[in-house]
Amino acid sequence: MSSNVVFKNKWLPIALITPQLLITFIFFIWPAGQAIFQSFQLEDPFGFSREFVGLENFIYLFNDSNYIDALFTTLQFSISVAFLAMVSALLLSAFAEHIVRGSTFYRTFLIWPYAVAPVVAGSLWLFLFDPTIGIIAELLGKLGVDWDPILNGSHAMWMVIIASTWKQISYNFLFFLAALQSVPKSLHEAAAIDGSGPIKRFISISFPLISPTSFFLLVVNFVYAFFDTFAIIHAMTQGGPGNSTSTLVYKVYNDGFIGLNLGSSAAQSVILMIMVALLTVVQFKYIENKVAY
């Protein structure tokens, strides 16, 4: 960083950075602080009284089978989405990397789901999976599956997993494609001279070289499955049937806004913040490593 070449003004930089800092403080830092404060309080739903209860909200959460269930639901959901979205994107990008002519065409037609709002993705797939009129439901019926996401928890889970995966493939595809294209061509040429075919070259050369990108994408996919799928779940299943598709984020919303259990909702927020903080550090490390000053 060029440290001695700078403007000398004193107040201008502070004026420049103030709007950003104000918004950050009012809408991010202050509410986050509130959440931490509230997580140690027990408050009645109408805000008339509150008392300090220490870690009680947290202890209660971890003894609450609903919360543990939501934790496992989230893990199951996130692992499935990350796995499916990454594997299918990797396959597509591996084949796309081999194409010389028409690669822009394929890229164009594969990236657009990135722009689709999660709730839109939810409503599209809800239509396909509707037990009475949906085309996929009909197909499954012919295969002998008694498709009923309204009553059957695991059917509902599959429905939100597929909608969320569909939405995420394009993002992973772009990153995998960029990573594969940066693999040195000379390595592939050398291996080809040694007589290894495209599949062997992919497994032994490209795959190890794109592992940092894969790790980065794994983290991004987890963050996506944790937070950005709220709209998909809200539109498709409302966390049901039962609590079978209620993830941690959905539960924060549900307990806070619908159930008005403020202390518990705040404690859940704090736990989520810790998770996000950890994941962000990993992402940041990745971005920073790629930057050469």
């Binding site: 060029s2 070449v5 700078v6 201008l12 930089p13 502070i14 420049l16 950075i17 950003q20 800092l21 918004i23 950050t24 403080f25 809408f27 991010f28 202050w30 509410p31 986050a32 509130q34 509230q38 396959l91 597509l92 084949f95 194409i99 010389v100 028409g102 822009t104 394929y106 890229r107 594969l110 990236i111 789901p113 990135y114 722009a115 689709v116 709002a117 999660p118 709730v119 599209l124 239509f127 396909l128 009129i133 009909e138 569909w166 394009s170 772009l174 990153f175 061509k185 592939h188 040429e189 495209p198 709209a231 809200h234 539109a235 924060v252 806070g256 806004f257 927020s269 971005i287 000053y293």
Partner: protein, 282 residues
């Protein structure tokens, strides 16, 4: 160049086309569904166009159309979405580029502290601080207003960080030459920095526009007044009919309308979007 067998290349094309078909399948069904009467779905959803044509779209976009429990015309929701997305985009880019400029080209007390405070916000998506942020908005009287819809989403660690990374790569000679020519900080920013940042601004514009357009949880929390409904929220409203028929042909049409603007932005600005997404640090 590695030898390519034509058979393998053909195989690649086949797989990719199958991939595209799989990804586009929901859209195809949605388009087809808009051309059928709602009653046609009773026997299962059709695979080919019906005889309604674009009537559903015309009904939806004309202002008289009201259906289910929504009394707000689609065109109004589209306008709300557009206002929201553009305000967030312009706001986000302006305040991020200004604060990145301050952090990189000036020295002032608390500079790095300020930068880290901003960076910290990356860690706090709306989803994890729902209740307290809602309280802040209530106390500021920002419920049901465009300022409430947009201002809290304007702060962005990502945009600030990307601008900072880009500014750090600008050669110091350029900066020195500008100063010798007598350019002050404002001059330097407008005449040199902004033109140089064109591609970065464009890339962030695409990403932020989509982010703003697709916002769901935030408007859901802070708008109760139909006047402020965005198109993305409108869809959920239509899906949640308590009694009566779900009007799938209208929902699918609305869904298609809602996804059209961001998809057009991504496809038409593909190059700059990919650049902004995949190698933001360059």
């Amino acid at each position: 160049m590695v030898q390519r067998s034509p058979l393998f290349t053909l195989f690649c094309h086949v797989i990719l086309i199958l991939g595209i078909i799989a990804v586009a399948f929901p859209i195809w069904i949605a388009i087809v569904a808009t051309t059928h009467e709602n009653s046609a779905f009773v026997t299962g959803s059709p695979l080919w166009f019906g005889d309604l044509g674009f009537d559903v779209f015309r009904d939806l976009l004309s202002n008289e159309s009201t259906f289910n429990n929504s009394t707000l015309p689609i065109s109004h929701m589209l306008l709300n979405s557009l206002i929201m997305a553009l305000t967030i985009t312009v706001g986000k880019l302006s305040i991020s580029i200004l604060s990145a400029y301050a952090v990189v080209f000036f020295r002032f007390p608390g500079r790095m502290f300020a930068f880290w405070i901003i960076f910290f916000t990356l860690m706090l998506p709306v989803e994890v601080r729902i209740m307290p942020t809602f309280e802040v908005i209530t106390n500021l009287n920002m419920l049901n207003s465009f300022s409430g819809l947009t201002i809290p989403l304007i702060a962005s660690a990502t945009a600030t960080f990307l601008f900072r990374q880009f500014f750090l790569t600008i050669p110091r000679e350029l900066f020195e030459a500008a100063r010798i020519d007598g350019a002050g900080p404002v001059r330097f920013f407008i005449d040199i920095l902004l033109p140089l940042s064109r591609t970065n601004i464009a890339a962030l514009f695409v990403i932020t526009f989509i982010y703003g357009w697709n916002q769901y949880l935030w408007p859901l929390l802070i708008t109760t007044d139909l006047q402020y409904y965005t198109i993305v929220m409108g869809i959920k409203q239509m899906l949640g009919v308590v009694d009566g028929v779900v009007e799938w042909n209208k929902i699918m049409a609305t869904t298609l309308i809602a996804m059209l603007p961001p998809v057009i932005v991504v496809i038409s600005m593909q190059k700059v979007f990919v650049k902004g997404l995949v190698d933001p640090e360059k």
